[in-house]
């Protein structure tokens, strides 16, 4: 599989409490040369945004200790971070609604390389349009 980067330079925030999932998702993002920051729960994600960090895309799990993905998304959106692409990743059927209600752009049950490629292309287009 050829991984298109198109001069990526996308910055991603990965929010995931399960170590194995962090390892796999980080590797997926590395394949697309995305600069990735990894945190273990929603609270850490929110703290990064509060600290002035910016990202092009946030990939977040739903159920995590301390703060869930949807809770974090609500707070991030409430801060005015409306441009960042936020993707909820969860196999749980109920999660989709929770993610969407919180302000996620997209919810996927499982992140596969082909799906991630499309999401990153979409993120890149969105970024290019807003900087034009």
């Amino acid at each position: 599989m050829a991984f298109q980067t198109q001069g990526s330079n996308l910055r991603a925030l990965l929010v995931e409490d399960i170590k194995v999932n962090r390892m796999i998702l980080s590797q997926m993002l590395r394949k697309f040369q995305v600069e990735t920051t990894v945190v273990q729960n929603g609270k850490e994600a929110v703290e990064l945004f509060l600290g002035g960090e910016t990202f092009d895309i946030v990939l977040t799990d739903n159920l995590m200790p301390i703060m869930t993905g949807p809770e974090a998304i609500s707070k991030i959106r409430a801060m005015g971070a409306t441009d960042v692409m936020i993707v909820g990743v969860s196999v749980d059927a109920n999660s989709m609604e929770e993610f969407k209600d919180a302000g996620a752009d997209l919810c996927v049950p499982k992140l596969k390389l082909e799906i991630l490629e499309h999401i990153l292309q979409e993120t890149r287009s969105k970024k290019n349009k807003s900087s034009a």
Binding site: M1, K19, V20, M23, I24, Q27, K31, D61, K112, L113
Partner: protein, 186 residues
Amino acid sequence: MPTIGFAFEESIVSTPRLPIGRCTLLPLLDPSRMSLERIVSRVTSNQSRKLAVGKGYLDEQFCQVEDLQDEASPNFVEEVVTLFFKDSGRLMSNIEQALEKYPRDFNRWDTYMQQLKGSCSSIGASRMKNECMSFRDSCGQGNVEGCMRSFQKVKREHAVLRQKLESYFQLLRQAGPAGAATRPVM
């Protein structure tokens, strides 16, 4: 006469787009350049993997993990699997303690098992994942015996999967890198 051929293994778990065989391209070097021992090891390791997949221990997600291995991360699959067994061992120990120390605390039990299930799902450990789901169903029903039974099955599936993957990686190590050529066996 070409010196490199490929054996593309047939999928034994059908998927709509991506047969499992696509991630097990076997470069079969000219036999005179690769020792027979290596060829046998490579074929055997792939058979071992096919068996694990065929019996439902692993699903297509494992192929997704394999696809992530590359020159920059040549041992990625084994590293992920190693992390999985380390982390799942810890989670199972937490569950075992919780079952003893916190009787009928289904929320707590379920939270631990939800993490284990997520981990199983990520590497394609399908049988183990199914037993995790049974445990969670029993939690939802407030069924202590059901939880206990399911947890024993989770432990069994964990042990079997570990054994199978250990064998698989051992065979892979014996086979050596796919592109390696060796002196002809004299």
